[in-house]
Amino acid sequence: MNRGPLTPNPSPTRDEGSQWSGPILAAENLGRVLPGEVPVTLVQDVTLDIERGEFVAIMGPSGSGKSSLLYLLGLLDTPTSGRVWLDGRDTSRFGEDELAATRLENLGFVFQFHFLLAEFTVLDNVLLPMRRLGARPEEKARQRAADLLQQFGLGDQGHKRPHQLSGGQRQRVAIARALANDPPVVLADEPTGNLDSRASANVRQILHDLTRELGKTVVAVTHDLTFASAADRRIGIVDGLIAPDWRA
């Protein structure tokens, strides 16, 4: 099955050798229930398409399941029902190793807390995904890491440890790390949740520019209305369901 879920034939199909031109990321009746004595439903029957180069904000009240949806879209969590399509591929058939390999090449993550490795320098943190993938020789990888840091105004911070940086700077390092392997999709979980308004604006601008200048697809979970207003599309989630008319 090399067909996107919501795109009927004969619209774009992914053939041998040709690029899939349908939605980069798609959820098909996605559901996630935490098992237990009282099962908890995190996400229910979510179906959505996200196009290439789109900047999407997922919004909703606390505990509405928007982060859970992001983890499912990011292949970090396994749905209990439905499936996720990434670049035209059905990921429900992937094993754990294939999921990890897919995340390494196709997805970049930015979290509310920067989650940089404290013992490594800023530059080494950005290098981590490239070293794991091993597609670039060390010299090229270092050059790319330095370029990414330069691009986000951190050109002179590469040798520092994460704790020597401000919150906004760290979050920009996290974005640089997410982009290290040049993935088509960047997923962000409350990327500005921990930042002051100036740093927030900076991060928001960077993520926005990623979609416009580099053609990346950005999906961000946020509480921040200003942040959401910069997005191309806002998706409301309430009690694990898509709420089309939800307004913060």
């Binding site: 970090l76 754990e96 390999a101 995340r103 090449e105 997805l107 490795l117 013992e119 981590l128």
Partner: protein, 414 residues
């Protein structure tokens, strides 16, 4: 260098104290392992050396392991008539054709052999008589197979070659008789021969029984005294490597027929005692390393707990479960390896100190050094035990780390 290895090193280097404690644990374990092992193995070898070198590695006797069959039995194996009271042929006892047989034995590599005629004589001096064992030897050959040369306190083995009527006796016997170098004793053999022999050497092995009963004279003289011209009744052999004695014994026995007994065969029970002793010793010293392994387990478990967010981010980034497992296994390997190397140095230091220790056993006149074994096999054994303990200690935390689900951790943070 793989990124997993780099992360492992970084984890250890950034946690200096627990890492150091783990290393010290393994290092001390390995050092004690080596010190105890080198002492035990050293004393074992010392013991064997005394056991082995004071007596021949292999002795060929003028006997057969199984009695020779009677010619009649060979000729008529199914004979109906049994002849009773058949006695073996009466002959002068000794190894037949000893010159050729000795030449064959000497043609084997890695050994030295000497012919000996052993018999009993009675020594009389100043009205005292003592029955002793007379060994008729060829001094030049005897030097290669016996340590008697080193045990001489007065005179020498060469003096025997110069004095056809010379006799070498033990210190115990000399004291009994009140004999000193140059004294003359009378020797009487069961064959009725009698001769005056001059003491040209006195030895002391430290074994009282040996020193009081063993005497040495020239082979020719012994043959005459015991009335067994041109006979020898033993070959005694010494090997470069005493442990081949068993194999050579069966070869010689198969080839020349006479009974050949190696020291290993003669002291089989002792060898099994030593083996059991080594097994006990190695289980005890390995226990030290097992205890040290708990230190490593503790360190790596703590790192896994502290670094659970790093693990979550690495896995979300696309690190496989096995990448994460490798990081923590590598930490075990690193701790084990570095700890072992430190322990090796420390152990060698301890051994160098132990070898300096001088002790004087109660009642002894000489001080002795502690026997230390320097063989490389114990280093490999220590390294092996240390690595197995260290990696074993890392397995559980590594598995736990590999199982971390990023979502569980991220949810906790959200």
């Amino acid at each position: 260098m793989s990124i997993q290895f780099v992360i492992a090193v970084t984890h250890l280097v950034s946690r200096k104290r627990p890492t150091l404690v783990s290393l010290v644990g393994i290092a001390l374990g390995v050092a004690f392992f080596l010190a105890v092992s080198s002492l035990m193995r050293g004393s074992e070898r010392d013991f064997i050396k005394r056991l082995v070198d004071n007596s021949p590695h292999l002795t060929v006797y003028d006997e057969y392991r199984n009695p020779q069959p009677q010619p009649a039995t060979l000729r008529w194996p199914d004979g109906a008539v049994e002849l009773r009271r058949v006695k073996p042929l009466r002959e002068v006892r000794g190894i037949r054709g000893h010159a050729q047989k000795l030449a064959f034995i000497e043609s084997l590599p890695g050994l030295r052999a000497a012919p000996v005629l052993v018999g009993s004589v009675v020594l009389t001096f100043a009205g005292r008589s003592e029955g002793v064992t007379l060994n008729g030897i060829v001094p030049a050959k005897m030097k290669g197979v016996s340590t008697i040369e080193d045990k001489m306190t007065q005179g020498s083995l060469e003096a025997l070659a110069a004095h056809p009527n010379g006799l070498i006796i033990g210190e115990g016997l000399a004291r009994k008789f009140g004999l000193s170098l140059g004294g003359v004793v009378n020797a009487v053999s069961p064959a009725g021969e009698s001769r005056a022999l001059k003491v040209v050497g006195i030895f002391r092995t430290g074994n009282a029984g040996y020193d009081e009963t063993q005497t040495f004279a020239l082979l020719k003289r012994a043959q005459g005294l015991l009335d067994r011209p041109d006979r020898v009744n033993r070959f005694i052999l010494q090997f470069d490597d005493p442990y081949v004695a068993r194999d050579v014994a069966s070869l010689i026995e198969a080839r020349i027929g006479y009974k050949a007994v190696s020291w290993l065969e003669a002291s089989e029970d002792l060898m099994s005692v030593l083996l059991v002793r080594n097994l006990i010793m190695y289980s005890v010293v390995s226990a030290i390393l097992v205890v040290a392994a708990f230190g490593i387990y503790n360190t790596i478990s703590t790192i896994v707990m502290e670094k659970v967010h790093d693990i979550a981010i690495l896995k979300s980034m696309g690190f496989h479960a096995r990448d994460v497992r490798r990081i923590f296994l590598a930490e075990g390997v690193l701790l084990g390896l570095v700890g072992s190397l430190l322990g090796l140095g420390l152990g060698l230091g301890l051994m160098a100190l132990l070898v300096q220790v001088e002790i004087k056993p109660p009642g002894a006149t000489d001080t002795v050094h502690l026997p230390i074994y320097w063989g490389y096999d114990q280093y490999l054994l220590a390294l092996g035990f240390a690595m197995v303990s260290a990696v074993g200690a890392a397995v559980l935390p590594a598995r736990k780390a590999a199982r971390v689900q990023p979502v569980t951790i991220l949810r906790g943070m959200g």
